[in-house]
Symmetry: C2
Subunit: 326 residues, 2 copies
C-alpha cells in the first residue's frame, strides 16, 4: 500500500531510527488503516526470543504468592516481557511441564518458587545441554549457579522468637510450613538457635508441621492445645497459618494476646486487619518477585550473574497479637 519494502516496514516498527520519518509515518498510517500489526510469533521465531518468562508457583491464591506474582509481572512488563502463569498446586509433574516451556522456546526463562529442581540435571548434562535461565524465589533447590532471592529466613525467625523471649515467653509453640520447603527449614533452624541461646530447648511436641495455609494453622493449633504443657506463645511460619491459629484459639475461648501470643510471617495485607492485628515478620514480597524478574531478564540478556544469593530485608512488625508476660 505504501509501495515500500517488507524490510522497511519491519524497521518502521522496530528501528524507527533506521528509516526516514516520512516513510515511517506512511507505514504506520497504512498499518492503522489496514489493521495490521506485526506478528509477534514470527518475530520470536526469527529472533529466538519469545518475550515470555514462566513463573512456577504452587498457588496463586495464596496471599504471599500472589504478591510475588504481582511483583514479577510489574518488573517483566516494564521490560517488555510477559509472564506465563504456572500454577502447580505443588505438583512436581506440573513443575516439570511448565519448566519444559523454556526448552520448547515458549518462554525464555523460569522463575521457580519451589524447592524442587524441575529438570533431570544428569540427563541434561549427558545431552550436553545448557539449562535455561532460571532463578529461585524464596526457596532453594540447592543447585549451584542458580541465583536465588529471598529474605534471611533464619534471622527472621530468630527475630520473631527473640521478640517473644523479650516479652517473657519461655514456652513457644511453632507451626511450620511444609518441611520440604527450604524456607521452613531455615526458619526452624532460626527458632532452635534463638531458643538455645536463651538456654531453652525446642520441645518437639510443640512443633507442628503442616503447610502454609489457614486450615493447617487451625489444625496444628488444635494439636498444640491438646498437649498437656501448653505454650504461652505460638510462632506461625505464615500469616495464613497464624490466621487459622487465631481462629482456632478463638473457638477454644482463648484470648490473644491475653492467654496466648501469636506471631505470623509474611505481613500479608490482611495481617493488619486481623483480630487482633497480627505481629508478624514483613517480607517484601513484591520486591522479591520484581528482583527475581530483573535478575532473570538480565540473564536472558546474556549477563552472567555474579551474586547467587540475594537477600532482601525483612522486618518485625509488632502489632497487637503479642504481649509481655514478664
Amino acid at each position: 500500500m505504501t509501495g515500500v519494502s517488507i524490510a522497511t516496514v519491519s524497521h518502521a516498527f522496530r528501528n524507527p531510527g533506521r528509516v526516514s520519518d516520512l516513510t515511517r509515518e506512511k507505514v504506520l498510517k497504512a498499518a492503522a488503516r489496514l489493521g495490521y500489526s506485526p506478528n509477534h510469533l514470527a518475530a520470536s521465531l526469527r529472533t529466538a526470543r519469545s518475550g515470555n518468562i514462566v513463573t512456577i508457583i504452587p498457588d496463586v491464591t495464596d496471599s504471599y504468592n500472589s504478591r510475588i506474582i504481582k511483583g514479577i509481572e510489574r518488573a517483566a512488563h516494564s521490560r517488555g516481557y510477559s509472564v506465563l502463569l504456572g500454577n502447580t498446586q505443588g505438583s512436581a509433574e506440573r513443575e516439570k511441564e511448565y519448566a519444559a516451556m523454556a526448552r520448547s522456546r515458549q518462554a525464555d526463562g523460569i522463575i521457580l518458587m519451589s524447592h524442587r529442581f524441575p529438570f533431570d540435571i544428569d540427563a541434561s548434562a549427558a545431552a550436553g545441554e545448557e539449562l535455561p535461565p532460571i532463578v529461585n524465589g524464596s526457596e532453594f533447590t540447592g543447585h549451584e549457579g542458580i541465583p536465588s532471592v529471598s529474605i534471611d529466613d533464619r534471622q527472621a525467625a530468630i527475630d520473631a522468637v527473640s521478640h517473644l523471649l523479650n516479652l517473657g515467653h519461655r514456652s513457644i509453640g511453632v507451626i511450620t510450613g511444609d518441611m520440604e520447603s527450604t524456607s521452613s527449614q531455615q526458619r526452624l533452624d532460626g527458632v532452635r538457635i534463638a531458643l538455645r541461646e536463651a538456654g531453652l530447648e525446642t520441645h518437639d511436641r510443640n512443633v507442628i508441621h503442616g503447610d502454609y495455609a489457614m486450615r493447617d494453622g487451625e489444625r496444628a493449633t488444635r494439636k498444640i492445645l491438646a498437649n498437656k504443657e501448653k505454650p504461652t506463645a505460638i510462632f506461625c511460619f505464615s500469616d495464613e497459618i497464624a490466621i487459622g491459629c487465631l481462629h482456632a484459639l478463638r473457638s477454644f475461648g482463648l484470648n490473644v494476646p491475653g492467654n496466648l501470643s501469636v506471631v505470623g510471617f509474611d505481613d500479608v495485607p490482611f495481617a493488619r486487619y486481623c483480630a487482633p492485628p497480627l505481629t508478624t515478620i514483613a517480607q517484601p514480597a513484591e520486591d522479591i518477585g520484581a528482583t527475581c524478574a530483573n535478575i532473570l531478564l538480565d540473564m536472558i540478556d546474556g549477563k552472567k550473574p555474579t551474586l547467587f544469593r540475594h537477600i532482601l530485608p525483612h522486618k518485625l512488625v509488632v502489632r497487637e497479637s503479642t504481649r509481655s508476660i514478664a
Copy 2:
C-alpha cells in the same frame, strides 16, 4: 540420527498414530539423547496458534481475582493452553496493551475482567477486522456478541438484603465497589429493589462508594459511622470491604453482630476465619474462571457461542456476623 525424515519426527511427536510404534520409539529416544524438543514457537507460527490466552485483570493480589485466575489456569492447562497474566491495576492503557497481544498473535484469545472494552471498536470495524475471541468475566463491557460469565449480581444483592430484612434490620448501610464496575451497579440495583419491596427507601448518605479493597471498607465505615442516623447493618460489596469494615467497627468499640450486622460478598477463604466469621454471598470464583476459559477455548476452536450470558449460582452463606434484632 535415526535416518528418518523431518516430517516423521514431527508426526512422532504430534500424531503418534501416523507413525509406526517402532519409529516413534526411535525418534523419541534419539530426541532424549540429543536433548531435542520441538520448538513451540515455530509450530505456533505455522499453525497460527500460540497456545496462549491472556487474562486481563486488575489485581492478582485481590482474593477474589486470584481465585478467578486459578480457575482459568486450571481449565486452560487441562486443554493444553497456557495463560498470560495481564495485571492492569485498573489502567485502561494496560488493558489495551494486553489486549493487543491477541492482535500480534501472542495470544489466541482474551479473558477480560474489566468493564472497559480494550479495543477501539469503530476503528477496527473500519479496517474490516474481526475482533479476537474474547470473553467477559464478572463484568460486562456492554458489547453485543461477547459472552460473559458471572453470577446474578442483582439477585445476590437482593438475597443479602432480604436476609438482613428478615433479621429485622430497617436501616442498612451499603459499601459498594467502584461504581464504574457493572457488578457494583447491578448489586446496588438489587439493594434498591429489595429495600423498595420492603417499603423502605435507600438513604444515599448510607451508601458509600469505594473500591473493592480492605482500606476502602475501613474508610467507608468511618464515614457511615459519622452520620447521625446510623444503620443497624452494613452490606459490603466484597469480603475485603467487609474485613475493612469489621476492623473499623472494632476500632470504634462496636461489636459485630451485637451492635451491628455485617454482610460481605464473594466468600473468599478468609471469610470463614474472620472475627466474627462473615455472613456473605458465595461466588463460585474458580468456576467462573474455568467457565470463562472453556468458553474462550471453544471460540478459539471455531465454535460460535450461542449463549451470551452465563449465570453461575451464588449462595448466601450465613455465619456469625449477622443477627436478628427483631
